[in-house]
Subunit: 484 residues, 2 copies
């Protein structure tokens, strides 16, 4: 799908770009950090996603002739054209030159640490903001939701099938993000084709309803799809539906085939699944699986499994594809430093706020992830790559500076990796693959303590600012408060 | 944006299509109804949207060569190719032939009435399901949310600017739906270009932060954009920000220009806006507007206005673009009737459920909207176009049959209009225009009683099944319960 990323932006980004240009700041360099402030879903982690689309955006970023013509037709509210001819001519030839660093897709991430860092002419940084946030916010949200759902489901695979209730075309990337977060497959064929992820599906109630009776519908389905036969048993009456499925399952066995499963999509799933298991087992169809679906999320899945219900696999739609209980991540993209063209040194920038949680972090930021000897993660340090790290390797919670932790002596890795250099995407193929990101997420989640993966009231993982960075931020706040 | 609508579907739709084909039902005709069951946002109405994209979908619906190649590569879980070569050859030549009828975009609609009706070969109806629901569910949701926000805002225009927090590319259609629902403009440039809707915007905190001080940033912005100058005053300290804006506003006046407004994006908006109004008025800048933004929705807007706060316009982002408090509509698409190829008569189909609200309505459905003499709407009747309407024109609530209402003698109009005939889109240009849909929504909302537009606990508008249809449905339920 070809997306016109240059126009996938808020008008004010282009207005400001013209402003920077007119103000002689066209070559001034800036560094922006993208991060989120709050754990989604009241959980204890997030799974980063959206970086593959970011790379695609960088690759195709152009103002096409009809884009420029469209912008040329816009008027200022007070009259006259909104954009100058000079600036429009500049846009027509515009090419990205910035550097982008980002965590790899599937990386487990936490609030207040940069997921993406953009460094380059301030105009470029500004032009990229909206599309970058649109992409990373949403996909990280869905990958995180999927990880929660899959953690709840344990060993049983989860198929994502929320496209019909998804937010328009966002659903196509939701399907990909769901797989990155841990889903085994998606029903979304376009996502399957675009992103090389597994697709799966059974049949709908309409299949059953289109025949005069359910047994005939089941027999026809089994005849046509003997290697793929999962029968939906709740079109009319679940108990009778299971009996009809058993009839067909036994007929399939006679022919040397196998009824792969039945699916239940309404009613009390836990009660019905246990009834189905008994009926199937009594009929000798122990190898027939049970698929459950119907408005499931991590909480309903956990509750069904807590009752000891036997479930072979899950179908999760609406509540996953639009992240029903929290449909947006709220990630932000903030100016963190500026410098004159050609200068070596960065000048830190900060936005003050009445709320400590909304204070930005200045500097050219990256993240060190420290590990315990047993492989579990010990703490994340947000640091400024242009300054020395204080030897004590102490982190200070960005919102509550009484929370501090010393990490010296532990091994660590650095999270940001190059995504673009000089305006060209440099993300390796293995860093664009959804299935590789899925494996990275699985491995990353395994480094969390179980208490940090609890669905409600999880143990908070330590993330903080490197001590020197914390002190520089405090001084900058004091200085700005002194000025204003 | 070119979308591959043929693959924008759940895998099981294509699987079932092959099933219908193999079962010799390829030419069997079906009629499906798309409707929703519950009022979104606990409100009293919805605004239909998504029909323009439906028409675009019909026009571009093809399985391209690479789509067919992708499908040919899929395997059944039990081994072997999922789709047969014959069926794939059929898909390669597939063209839609169905009829689609839909309410016009912007029409005020209610639960249990068909928004879209698809009539044609059952395979086609099935293939269209997912994309149709994806499109109409989401856009109707956002248009409805926007209508609520704009009703709360009263005369002050609302600008939508949620793209950065929207669900990926869904955000582009969210921007269009927001305008259909009543927003005056969107920040989303791509939506502006694609859908010919007004775009607007001011500047961000980063503009201010990129300068050494706020006053310089404001002066530069005013110099560059004298006809479009709205200054964001909360980067450091709102009171000082307003003072700086006043300084610039007075300088502009000296030059014969006008400071159009200030924007406040954090803090207690109501308190700050009243302070700003006093300060601006005392400085003689009575013509400087006040724009408020920051996580607004219909409830916060109403609360701010209830305090008598003077607001010139609103910017609404996150909570509108992803419909934060209810991010999906939950509309369904149900088989309602079938007939053999060439047959005149339809056979009604019904899905029974344990819950009365989930029972489907059989028949080839349309809606009559009845009006009081004063122009207010009186009641909506869901009826079967292939059967005579009972002369009493009584409607029966589909969930509670004790609620009935007689509508005979009132004037009415019929809501469904042709969107496609024989697989070709026939929607008129005026029925594809977002701005025309916006006007239709405005006019439609004016036909509701004020009590039906209340934000919480609204008066319920009467919608019911035509009496004969209600009786046929009851008989069909009894007959199906007898069979199973």
């Amino acid at each position: 799908m070809r997306v016109d990323y240059a126009l996938l932006t808020d008008l004010y980004q282009i207005t400001m770009a013209q402003g920077y240009w007119d103000a002689g700041k066209g070559r001034e360099e800036a560094c922006f950090s993208m991060y989120f402030r709050d754990y989604p879903f009241k959980g204890g982690f997030a799974v980063a996603c959206g970086m593959a689309q970011l790379a695609e955006m960088v690759e195709s970023y152009r103002f096409a002739d009809d884009d420029v013509a469209y912008l040329a037709g816009l008027s200022a509210p007070g009259g006259g054209p909104l954009f100058s001819e000079d600036f429009l001519a500049y846009l027509a030839d515009f090419r990205l030159t910035c550097d982008i660093d980002a965590v790899r897709e599937g990386t487990v991430v936490f609030p207040h640490e940069p997921l993406v860092r953009v460094t380059g002419p301030i105009m470029e940084c500004q032009l990229l903001e909206t599309a970058l946030l649109n992409c990373v916010n949403f996909q990280t949200l869905i990958a995180t939701k999927a990880a929660r759902v899959c953690l709840a489901a344990g060993d049983a695979p989860v198929a994502e099938f929320g496209l019909r209730r998804a937010q328009g075309l966002g659903g196509v990337w939701a399907s990909r993000a769901a797989v990155v977060g841990g889903c085994a497959s998606t029903s979304d064929v376009l996502a399957g084709k675009l992103f090389d992820i597994p697709v799966s599906g059974t049949h709908a109630h309409s299949w059953v309803m289109s025949f005069d009776d359910e047994l005939t519908a089941f027999r026809e389905y089994a005849r046509i799809f003997p290697k793929n036969c999962v029968l939906l048993v709740d079109s009319y009456d679940v108990e009778q539906g299971i009996r009809n499925a058993i009839t067909v399952g036994l007929e399939m066995r006679e022919r040397g085939e196998r009824l792969a499963g039945i699916r239940i999509d309404s009613g009390d799933l836990s009660w019905l699944a246990r009834m189905a298991r008994r009926m199937l087992d009594e009929a000798g169809l122990e190898d027939c699986g049970i698929v459950l679906s119907n408005d499931l999320d991590e909480h309903t899945i956990k509750s069904i499994l807590d009752e000891g219900t036997p479930v072979t696999s899950w179908g999760v739609g609406t509540k996953l594809a639009c992240a029903f209980d929290q449909p947006t991540l709220g990630g932000v993209y903030k100016l963190a430093a500026v410098r004159e063209p050609g200068a070596e040194e960065w000048t830190n920038r900060l936005k003050i706020s009445e709320s400590a949680a909304k204070l930005t972090t200045p500097g050219v930021l990256d993240v060190r992830r420290y590990y315990h000897d047993d492989g579990r993660i010990a703490g994340d340090m947000v640091f400024d790559v242009t300054r020395p790290v204080d030897g004590r390797e102490v982190i200070v919670d960005p919102v509550d500076d009484l929370r501090q932790k010393r990490l010296a002596g532990k091994r660590y890795e650095t999270l940001l990796a190059p995504l673009a250099r000089g305006g060209r995407a440099v993300l390796a193929p293995e860093d664009r693959s959804a299935m590789a990101a899925r494996e990275r997420a699985r491995a990353g989640l395994a480094t969390l303590d179980e208490t940090q993966k609890r669905m409600l009231n999880p143990h908070t993982y330590p993330v903080g600012l490197e001590y020197g960075l914390f002190e520089r931020r405090r001084e900058l706040v004091a200085s700005l408060r002194g000025i204003v």
